[in-house]
Symmetry: C2
Subunit: 480 residues, 2 copies
């Protein structure tokens, strides 16, 4: 059955894509109702599955012609609602555009389609001794196109940078169906950095059809440390101390007592000491000698900060053992309740010792189970709240906790999001982090790229008060 | 004497700034007629020298009120005309806004005013064991505000990145006088990266009044290699070989035979072997052990590529000796003729062996003396042409050489500019590097930030054909 409005849109697309790549049946649409932010749902009017750039162009042109909102989606692992359909809109899912178009080992670049799953690129590069560095925890599921949309981070982004640091060039379909290249495959940009503007724009400025990434050599040596502490405050001081001494681990993660309890509850042997209330995971990469020297220096600093025990692993099997608790944490939390709200905020490292207890108090007051697994070295927090999305009271409390956690982090000099984007989740919080001038600028830029507001509308930017406020002219009359 | 038009603009500014900071006298304006691109001149109608952000806001507001174009200027070392006044416009020179506002050694950030000379920041950081990495060759003269405007590079940017990689946040006065903060002092950006868009926009989107930079620790060890070759082709092969083996020097410079001859001609003892027709300078930084290992590996690869001689220096005095020729090169070229055209283009590293002789042929055909000093590791060329700007025929030939060199580099898969910006110099070449859709997008973004086109107009973007083409609406009707 075709949706009642815009029948021409659907009949043309059915002919173009075939019925199995133009899903409009209510029953088949249900699995596409939300992304990883499961408490915000919106059934798409259709799911479109292009296989080529030409099909993407055709879809965008038809959507523009018929005024249909389009939301680009990779694997749907987004945690801020960015990959959930807009009201009355269709999803354009990149599941079938997942080819590796080129690997250039000499210039160390790779060009891929946006639907390629992150880890598949790493697998293809490994025999060449090359690596794609950004490694979101979702890397076995999330797509590189989604990673670009959210400017995803990951445990190893403290040293190697979020996704944007690895994006050289983007092929983008604009709102009118024209195709442009942003950035430069050789890594140079001239004038304003449109590539940089685009990465992290969550599908609101255009739709990416291919990405050229910068690659790195696989580091010759890696070494992992696991340090356990009797309390989180000591662990946080250890984090600050290591960074302040100019040591830059390639990963610097923290796990709190509530997560350790969740691991125990799930029957997963974390192998952490029974008196540990906080665990730090550090990894170093580079030349064997420098890795050794950095690990020794970090060990001394962590001991001085009060570490109970420090374990070290150099080979892959030992390293996997130390990472086991970190990697299993989300699975363990998933066992506590049907839904998990994975928050994402940032605070200055030096404020971690006060912000973490404040977040704990908020969840305790609201009677919500909290577990913190986070990128400690970057001050990038992930307060994780287990809940049951079918219980409206629980959902209300989760949302209240979310708002209060954001407020605490911003008050501590933090940022709204580290790596999961704004999406629908934090759209209403944007005025807490940005002044009206900046939000107006962002609306103005959005209008340049997407004057008809059809590309992932109702995401990222708070609703303008009137239509006129979206336009550049609103810049007049600002105050200093 | 006040300029005839907009007398109110000048009387108000005279009162605000005092006569010595509001220069309008023709004779006093002459030294401000151009920046480092000396063959393109435009006398400003005034030079304004603010000392505070409030004064900048007032200047921008008054300029908006009276329709006076404003060009922000640091030290005027820009090599693409970006810091030369627009027609009928005033210069707002940041010579007096050069304070270091804050150095935060724990979070490793520094906040400075835009008029601070690059090297002054490094000097202030040194006693703290910290460093600001981007080091344009102009660093003893150029300002950090100018470096942000041009997204400047430098010998050590191959490893540490151009200026944008070190910019965390910018305080910006917009075209209407309002003040906003772009980016985040803790290094996180949410949504589209306005900070990234702004860096490299050459004063066309707003005027920066303070900059927060990311700092690094001074590397524990540094080591310099100088390798001389009998011909440039072998040297270029050495460059490709080192990079292809995953070795990333912190600097990787090349000097050609014409530059060596200029050094000899200037009586500067370069110390290069008499049979050297090309010299590579490599620097390594990091832990002592990794620096040693990288230098050894690079030495073997450079020998295999045919190096005649390789010298090594670990202490500061020895390193300065190896850098002497590189540092003295521009001074030596300056002796060859009254003017020097320092070009800036980029080609893929692998194309250097064919592009360099092609550039040589262009200059030979036009009878122009050429010398190449360049960031070889990045494929970032600087063909330097000595000429006499008072000779119209020489100027004509220099401009023709410039166009033909740009064409050769773009044809080889290169980019228009590596680190000197577009300015007025390469404005007309923009359509060679970018499609009309991208140029229209850039015009659209410019209109969002500066609807009145008063901020460094007539720079970077080629003139739109009609006024309407500057507006977002032009996005309609594009072709795929």
């Amino acid at each position: 059955m075709l949706p009642a409005h815009a029948p021409e849109f659907f009949t043309t697309l059915r002919t173009l894509l075939g019925p199995e790549r133009c899903i409009t049946d209510q029953g088949l649409l249900l699995p596409w109702e939300c992304d990883g932010l499961s408490h915000l749902r919106q059934l798409p009017i259709a799911v479109l599955l292009p296989e080529t750039r030409a099909e993407v162009v055709e879809i965008v042109r038809l959507a523009a012609e018929h005024g249909i909102p389009l939301t680009a989606r990779g694997a749907g692992t987004c945690l801020s609602g960015g990959a959930t359909a807009a009201q009355g809109g269709a999803l354009i899912a990149f599941t079938r555009m997942k080819r590796i178009l080129e690997i250039d080992p000499v210039n160390r670049t790779a060009r891929v389609e946006p639907g390629l799953v992150n880890v598949r690129l790493s697998e293809a590069l490994k025999p060449l001794g090359l690596a794609y560095m950004p490694d979101p925890s979702s890397q076995t599921a999330s797509t590189l196109g989604g990673n670009v949309a959210e400017n995803s981070g990951g445990p190893h982004c403290i040293k190697h940078g979020n996704t944007t640091m690895s994006v050289l060039a983007l092929e983008v379909v604009l709102a009118d169906g024209s195709v442009i290249e942003l950035g430069h495959a050789r890594g140079r940009t001239e004038g304003p950095d449109l590539r940089g503007l685009f990465v992290g724009s969550e599908g609101t400025l255009g739709i990416v059809t291919s990405i050229t990434f910068r690659l790195e050599r696989i580091p010759p040596a890696e070494l992992t440390l696991l340090a356990s502490f009797a309390d989180m405050r000591s662990a946080c001081n250890g984090v600050s101390s290591v960074i302040a001494h100019g040591i830059l681990p390639s990963a610097f993660e923290a796990i709190d007592d509530r997560t350790i309890a969740a691991l125990e509850h799930a029957g997963k042997k974390s192998g952490y000491p029974s008196n540990a209330a906080a665990v730090l995971l550090l990894e170093f990469d580079g030349a064997a000698e420098s890795v050794r020297a950095e690990a020794d220096a970090a060990t001394a600093l962590l001991r001085a900060a009060g570490a109970l025990r420090i374990e070290e692993a150099e080979d892959a099997a030992q390293r996997a053992r130390l990472w086991k608790g970190r990697k299993g944490a989300y699975g363990a939390m998933g066992r506590l309740a049907p839904d998990l709200y994975v928050m994402d905020t940032v605070v200055p490292r030096s404020r971690l010792p006060e912000v973490l207890p404040a977040i704990g108090r908020i969840c305790d007051e609201l009677g919500l189970p909290l577990a913190n697994v986070f990128h400690a070295g970057e001050g990038n927090l992930h307060p994780n709240i287990s809940f049951d999305g079918r219980n409206p009271d629980q959902v209300r409390r989760v949302l209240e906790a979310g708002r209060r956690i954001v407020e605490v982090c911003l008050k501590a000099g933090g940022a709204l999001s580290g790596e999961h984007g704004i999406g629908t989740e934090k759209r209403e919080f944007m005025p807490l982090a940005f002044g009206p001038e900046t939000i107006e600028l962002l609306h103005g830029l959005k209008a340049v790229f997407d004057p008809g507001r059809l590309l992932n509308p109702d995401k990222v930017l708070p609703e303008p008060v009137t239509c006129g406020e979206m336009r550049p002219a609103v810049l007049r009359g600002r105050s200093a």
